[in-house]
């Protein structure tokens, strides 16, 4: 039955529910859709709004009950901001500075090392012999046992094990053929993301303690780089796979080494994907809590720790905490606003192939 011949009630319902053409929504669905989306927007923005205005409140205003609108319900004041930035001064700036340094450095390193590895895994065929892996792990266990039980100095144990391994590589390894290929190596690198940091954090703590590197930037940067490496490899792998191989082959014919091809041809071509990955990893490093909790103390303390340290004995001092949260969140929110489209596309590509 064509629309013209139906009773008027039916036509009204159709008019409300069915769109007139494919480029617009019908009235009822349109109202419902916008309503739902606006509702969720409020849910998203409300906590952030609350934090911002709380940072402008005096303690009395916070304790006596909810005030919603600045200048109308309460008088905004810069007391909390003043305290955090001026009175606490260095105690605020140092963790902020630490966060910036650690996040930027570890992200840059992760991108560099990760994209290099991803490129190699895409373009070069690997075959790691199973035997080498087993021997390596065996030697590792021996080193640990030796250090723990026999109390051998770990430097000596590592040196001996290293020498044995190289010896093995040079001689016996040729006898065994079975190996693991590219996709297995990729899988191994990427699957490290499943490992809960809490399993690894204790030994890492001990390791840095032995190296006298606890509570330093170096410790955090190294750890964050390692932790975020799997994500970088996972995402950039697909970007490199999408670069037409002709360009690289032509450069190699002209005499460029593989490193040169990587830095001058492959990397620039995946620039936008790399930027998205950089931003994603930066956000992760900026917000990281658990590892910083274990590995840092007064010197290398990062922002998330500073925020959680505001939990005073008399209860959390919401006004100071809000200031800290605002200055922690502001930079990444700005990044998010400008780059969400790129990050989404990067994640999509990773999800399609990975």
């Amino acid at each position: 039955m064509t629309p013209d011949k139906q009773p008027w009630l039916r036509r009204l319902i159709v008019r409300l529910i069915e769109p007139p053409n494919l480029e617009t929504l019908a009235p009822l669905p349109r109202i419902a859709t916008y309503a739902a989306l606006i509702a969720w927007s409020l849910i998203v923005l409300m906590p952030l709004y609350w934090v911002v205005i709380t940072s402008f409140k005096v303690p009395v205003d916070v304790d006596t009950g909810p005030y919603y609108l600045p200048f109308i319900d309460f008088q905004p004041s810069l007391d909390a901001w003043h305290y955090i930035f001026v009175d606490l001064g260095n105690d605020t700036l140092r963790p902020y500075f630490n966060s910036v340094v650690v996040a930027l450095a570890s992200t840059t390193l992760a991108i560099l090392i990760g994209s290099l590895a991803a490129y190699a895994l895409v373009r070069i065929r690997f075959k790691v012999m199973l035997a080498s892996i087993l021997v390596f792990i065996g030697l590792l266990v021996c080193v640990i046992v030796a250090v723990a039980y026999v109390h051998l100095a770990w430097q000596l144990a590592v040196a001996v094990a290293g020498a044995l391994f190289l010896l093995f590589l040079g001689t016996l390894s040729r006898r065994f053929r079975a190996g693991v290929g590219n996709s297995d190596i990729e899988f191994w690198i990427i699957s490290n993301r499943i490992m809960p940091p809490v399993v690894a954090v204790l030994p890492i703590y001990i390791m840095f303690q032995q190296l006298h590197l606890l509570d330093t930037h170096v410790a955090l940067i190294a750890t964050y780089t390692a932790v975020n490496l799997p994500i970088v490899v996972w995402l950039t792998r697909d970007f490199f796979a999408g670069v037409p191989i002709d360009l690289e082959e032509s450069a190699e014919m002209d005499g460029a080494s593989k490193f040169r091809v990587f830095f001058t041809i492959a990397l620039p071509l995946v620039r936008s994907g790399l930027v998205a990955t950089f931003m994603l990893v930066l956000i992760l490093a900026w917000n990281e809590y658990l590892l910083a909790l274990f590995l840092s103390n007064a010197n290398a303390q990062t922002m998330p720790l500073l925020v959680s340290a505001q939990n005073g004995t008399r209860g959390p001092q919401w006004w100071y905490m809000s200031v800290l949260i605002v200055i922690m969140v502001a930079p990444v929110v700005v990044i998010a606003i400008f780059l969400q489209k790129h990050i989404a596309r990067g994640l999509l590509i990773g999800a399609v192939k990975g």
Partner: protein
């Protein structure tokens, strides 16, 4: 069903892609919308389907104004260039989809699908998935899905362009035969003039959103309405000579010759098809030049000559004894000359 487009305009933002298109397709006619990319042919097809809204103008199917009607009520079936098969459904389910959506009884669906599958030679493949089929087989599934509900008209968007050349020729013949058997109005979009000439009852040639000529293939070939049509249709393309028309006498740089017209134009173009030309000795030709290139095609030879400032291609016998650089003449019949106004491009009688 008859399909009529009345003064259709379509703009995307500030860019107008279809300008004042008027088209009347007869019931049972095979109409081809031909043009280069960007000519507006696909946009016109999608407007008929209802997948794009119309900026101005009306569309009618079978006398009923469907300009504001949703695609699913227009009773049209479309075959896409990418076939648009559902990868997670079997061939059977894909073909049955139009009927499944309309909630037809199961027995009816089964019978219809089996019947269609037999017609397009897909029986035996009904339980496969699209990714297990070849390009030609997928195309036939798309076709079957379009046929199964006997729509008022078929719309086809370059359905053969993803097939290799040999299969394309085979499917052309199949399509022509099938359309004749079913007698359903078909609007077919392509950029390939061979497909247009072989399949169409009438061809609508579009360029930059404007209809250049709507005519039978024979007429388009033999009496092109303007310079664009003349240059687009025909392979190798028509030769053009610039010059002046004085009372029917054409004066070009490479020579002057009489035509079957009595008109005068200051700026005119004479067009002659390669198969209407002959290579002669340089003193016997209507225009003179020298041989620029010789290509042996197999059953004929293409001799390209530089005559004055223009290149003229002549279809010669397969035994051709000319050499590059040789001075020759080109000759042709006056009635084979097509005359055009150089400014407007329009045909001059």
């Amino acid at each position: 069903m008859r399909i009529s487009l009345t003064d259709i305009h379509k703009s995307f933002g500030s860019v107008e892609v279809v300008k004042g298109l008027n088209l009347d397709v007869e019931d049972g006619e095979f109409l081809v919308l031909l043009g280069a990319s960007g000519s507006g042919k696909t946009t016109a097809l999608r407007m008929i389907a209802g997948l794009e809204t119309v900026s101005a103008g009306r569309i009618a199917i079978g006398g009923r104004d469907v300009t504001d009607v949703l695609p699913k009520y227009r009773d049209l079936a479309m075959v896409f260039q990418s076939y648009a098969l559902y990868p997670h459904k079997t061939v059977f389910a894909n073909i049955a989809y139009p009927l499944t959506v309309r909630k037809r009884p199961r027995g009816e669906i089964e019978a219809a699908v089996k019947d269609i599958a037999r017609q397009v030679q897909l029986d035996g493949l009904l339980e496969r998935y699209p990714r297990q089929l070849s390009g030609g087989q997928r195309q036939r599934v798309a076709l079957a899905r379009a046929i199964i509900r006997r729509p008022a008209a078929f719309l086809m968007d370059e359905p053969l362009s993803n097939l290799d050349a040999k299969l394309r020729g085979h499917m052309r013949a199949e399509l022509k035969h099938m359309q004749h058997e079913l007698g359903i109005t078909t609007i077919y979009v392509t950029h390939d003039q061979i497909e247009a000439m072989t399949l169409a009852h009438r061809v609508a040639l579009l360029e930059r959103g404007v209809l250049q000529q709507l005519d039978t293939p024979a007429n388009i070939y033999n009496r092109p309405a303007n310079l664009f049509v003349a240059g687009f249709i025909g392979s190798p393309p028509m030769n053009f000579l610039a010059g002046e028309l004085v009372n029917g006498q054409f004066v070009a740089g490479a020579g002057s010759f009489g035509t079957s017209s009595r008109a005068s134009r200051n700026a005119a173009v004479a067009g002659i098809r390669p198969e209407d030309c002959r290579v002669t000795a340089s003193n016997e030709g209507k225009i003179v030049g020298e041989v620029y290139a010789i290509e042996l095609i197999g059953d004929h030879t293409l001799v390209t000559c530089r005559c004055g400032a223009e290149m003229v291609t002549v279809k010669a016998d397969k035994e051709c004894d000319h050499r590059i650089g040789q001075a020759i003449g080109v000759s042709f019949q006056p009635k084979a000359i097509h005359l055009f106004d150089r400014g407007s491009g329009e045909r001059v009688e």
